[in-house]
Symmetry: C2
Subunit: 423 residues, 2 copies
C-alpha cells in the first residue's frame, strides 16, 4: 500500500454509500485499494491524517480549450462577433507551440490547484498540449479541432495532426491520456468534412466532440440551411453511430435532439458560466435530465469564463436552473456533484473514474473542511456544492500520484510557466 | 503616517483615475491620506510591499442576516415554504444571545477573510450582533427587524430593542457603526406597524430596510390586498419620506416602482445567488440601471447562499443579466464592481467609503494577484470580477486597522468561534 488517508470524511459518489465519516482510503499504485471504516492491516508507505479534511473524487471538466488561459481578461463584455473577430481570433493567429505549451501549463496548474483531475479538450497545436498533459500527470481526453469543407480532407494539416495525436497519446499511461476526435461545429464545417472526421472516430473507437447549438443564431441558421437542428443534422449524416458524442453547450437543444443524443449514448457538456458570460443563453437542463441524458459540467475556455474553477460551475448549475424554472428543488446538491464527477467520467469513456471505490483509479482531492466559510458543516455535500471554492482544495491526486499539495505542484514548474505567459 | 503600501496595483473606484500601477497608498489613523505615484516624504510606521498584489476598496454587503451562518447547509433544495416552516423557523426558535454571538463571529470572520469590510444587517438578538460588530472592528449598519400589526406597538419588545440599538451603536466609533431601521416585509406586517416603524427611522434620520417583492407570491398577494405593489404601497403609506429606503431583493419590481424608489433616493440590495437558490426569480436589474437606480450587491443570509463571498455575487451579477437578456455587453466588469463598492456605501449612507481616495475611510483589501488563476493579467478589473475568489484576499483593513492578514484575524478568536458554532 502506497498511501493511506486516515480519519477522513469522504464523499464517495458511490450511490450505495455516498458519505462516510472517520474513514480510511488506501491507494496502491494507480488504484484505490480500499475504502471503509476498518483500518487496513497492511503498512502504508505514507499515512496522511485527513482529520478536518474531506476526500472526494477529482472533478472532471468535459469541455475546455486549455491554451486560452493566455487570453484571460483580454476582452470581455462585448458582442460575440466583436469578441471573436477583433480580439480572440487575432490573438489566436499569433499563437505558436511555445505559447500554447505555456498557456496549457497555467491551465493544468490552475485545474490541479482547484480540484480538477481530468479534462476534455479541443484546440490546435495539440502536440504542445499533449506535451504538458503527458508530463504533468493530469488525466485528459485531447482532440484536434477540425473545420472546413472536407475537400482535400486527407491533405489537411489539421487531419494529419488529429491522426498523429491519436497515434501518440491514445491509451497512454494506462489510459490516463485518451484521444477524442473533434468537429469544431456545424457552422464551421460542411457535411463531407464532418462525415470524414467522424469516420476517424469510428475507425479508432473514439469519442466525438462537437460544439452544438451554443447560440440561437447557429441553431436557427442550421435549421434554415438543412431543415434540421444541428443535432438532428449530425444524426442524419450518421456522425453519431458508435461515437458516443460529447456535445458542448446545447443551449437550444430540443426534446427531439435529446432523444437522439440519448439513443446515441452521448453526453452534454453544460457550461453555465460561459453560456451566461457570452450571453449564449441557458441550456434546457431540466428537460435533458428528465430525458435521462448524461449531463456533465465544463468551464469552456478561460477567455469566456475567466477561470477553470469547477466549483463555480457546480454551484451555478445547482442554483441557476432553480431560479430560471421557479423550482428550488429542481437540481439538488448531489445531482450537481454527480454532473462534475461520475457523469464526466462516463462522457470521457472512463468506467473506472469519478468515484472513490475499490478498484477505481485513484483520482482523489482533499478539501480543508476546517475553514471558516465551511463552518459549521450540517451536510458535507451541501458545503461542497454551495459553500466551497476551488481554493479549498489542499491535495490533488491523479492515478495515485500526488500532483498538488498545500500550494505546491510536484510536476509543473509554476514560476517558469507564469513568467512565460506574462511574456 | 501609519501604513504605507508601496508598489501596488490599485483599483480606486474613483472614476477620474480608476486604475493605477506602481502606486503608493498612505493611511493615517482611520483615513486614506494619499494615493498616487509619488512616494510620500513622511516616514511610515509600517511599510507594506504590495508588489504582485492589488489594492481595492473593501466590498460592501448590503443585505444579510449574519447569525444565519449557524444554518449553513441545514436545509437546501426544497420548497420555500417547507424550508422556512420545517427547517429555518424551528432552528431560529432555538437561538439565544450566545448562539447568535457565535454565528455572528463566524460570519464576520468569513466576511473579513473574503474582503467584505462593511455589511447591512437585519435580524433579532441585535445586542449580541452589536457586541461582535463593536469588538471585531468591521463596519456595519445594524437593524432590529420588526414584524406585526402595530397594535401595542410601543409595548413590543422588538421595538424596544430597535430603539435601544440606535441608542447604543448609532454613529459609534466615528460612524463605523450605524443603526438602520428594519420593517421585515409587507406580508409580515400591517400598515400601522409599518408607519410607526418608519417613524423611528424619520425621528432619528436613519435608513429604512425592507424585504420587498422577493417572491412573486408576496408581490401578487400585496397587489390583491391593496391594489398596489409593495413598493407603491410603502410609498402610499409615507414610509419613504426621508428614510432613503434600502429595499432587498426586488425580483418583481415594476418600472413604476423604480421611479418611486429613485425619487425617494433609495437603493436596491440585489442578491443574485440567494434569488436563484431559493428560486425567487431574477431581478430586472437592467431596467433598474436604466432608471438610474442605485443597485448594490448582497449575499442574503448564509442559509440561502451558503456563504458570504461577495466575489461570487459580483461575478454572477455581471454574467447572469448578460445571459438572461441575450446581451454580452449588458453589465460590464466595472459596473459590477461599482455595485459592490461605491453603490453599497451610498446605500449605507456613507459618503466617505467605497473608494480609495484621499480623505476617505481606509477600508482597503489586498489581493494576491500572483496566483495561477489570475495569470496572466491583461485587465485588473476583469481579473477581479471574472477570475478572482474571496480567498485571494490576503489583507483586510477597516477604518485604518488591519483586521485580517495572511490567514490570521487580529480581533476575532476564530478557533473559539468555530468550537462554539459546532457545539
Amino acid at each position: 500500500m502506497d498511501i493511506l488517508f486516515e480519519n477522513a470524511k469522504v464523499i464517495t459518489m458511490d450511490d450505495d454509500a455516498p458519505y462516510l465519516e472517520n474513514a480510511y482510503v488506501a491507494v496502491t499504485g494507480r488504484k484505490i485499494e480500499y475504502i471503509g471504516n476498518e483500518k487496513p492491516k497492511a503498512q502504508a508507505k505514507r499515512c496522511i491524517n485527513a482529520g478536518g479534511k474531506l476526500l472526494m473524487p477529482g472533478l472532471i471538466n468535459t469541455h475546455t480549450h486549455v491554451p486560452m488561459t493566455l487570453f484571460r481578461g483580454l476582452s470581455d463584455d462585448c458582442e460575440l462577433d466583436v469578441w471573436l473577430r477583433e480580439h480572440i481570433w487575432p490573438a489566436e493567429d499569433k499563437l505558436c507551440p511555445d505559447s500554447v505549451r505555456a498557456g496549457t501549463e497555467i491551465a493544468v496548474a490552475e485545474m490541479l490547484a482547484s480540484g480538477t483531475t481530468s479534462f476534455s479538450d479541443s484546440y490546435f497545436f495539440v502536440d504542445a498540449i499533449a506535451d504538458v498533459a503527458e508530463k504533468s500527470g493530469i488525466r485528459a481526453n485531447l482532440s484536434r479541432s477540425i473545420v472546413g469543407s472536407g475537400e482535400n480532407f486527407d491533405g489537411m494539416p489539421s487531419v494529419a495532426e488529429a491522426k498523429a495525436l491519436i497515434e501518440r497519446i491514445h491509451m497512454q499511461d494506462g489510459g490516463r491520456l485518451r484521444a477524442d476526435v473533434s468537429i469544431h461545429a456545424e457552422y464551421t464545417s460542411e457535411t463531407e468534412c464532418r462525415i470524414k472526421t467522424a469516420q476517424i472516430a469510428k475507425d479508432n473507437g473514439l469519442i466525438l466532440q462537437i460544439h452544438t447549438s451554443e447560440t440561437s443564431a447557429e441553431h436557427d441558421k442550421c435549421i434554415e440551411k438543412y431543415g434540421r437542428t444541428p443535432t438532428a443534422q449530425f444524426e442524419h449524416e450518421g456522425l453519431f453511430e458508435g461515437t458516443r458524442p460529447l456535445l458542448a453547450h446545447c443551449c437550444y437543444m430540443t426534446g427531439e435532439d435529446m432523444d437522439i443524443l440519448k439513443s446515441a449514448g452521448g453526453s452534454v457538456a453544460h457550461c453555465p458560466v460561459s453560456n451566461l458570460k457570452l450571453a449564449s443563453g441557458v441550456a434546457p437542463v431540466l428537460s435533458m435530465l428528465s430525458h435521462g441524458l448524461n449531463v456533465t459540467l465544463a468551464t469552456d475556455g478561460v477567455a469566456s469564463n475567466n477561470n477553470t474553477d469547477m466549483f463555480e460551475e457546480i454551484k451555478l448549475f445547482a442554483i441557476l436552473h432553480k431560479g430560471i424554472n421557479n423550482d428550488p428543488a429542481a437540481i439538488d446538491a448531489y445531482t450537481a456533484l454527480k454532473a462534475a464527477t461520475v457523469n464526466g467520467a462516463k462522457a470521457q469513456g472512463r468506467s473506472d473514474c469519478g468515484k472513490i471505490a475499490a478498484g477505481f483509479e485513484a483520482d482523489i482531492i482533499m478539501l480543508d473542511f476546517d475553514r471558516v466559510h465551511l463552518t459549521p458543516c450540517h451536510n458535507a455535500v451541501s458545503n461542497v456544492v454551495y459553500a466551497a471554492r476551488g481554493s479549498d482544495v489542499v491535495m490533488t491526486m491523479v492515478a495515485g500520484k500526488i500532483l498538488y499539495e498545500n500550494g505546491e505542484f510536484t510536476t509543473v514548474d509554476i514560476e517558469r510557466a507564469k513568467r512565460l505567459v506574462r511574456a
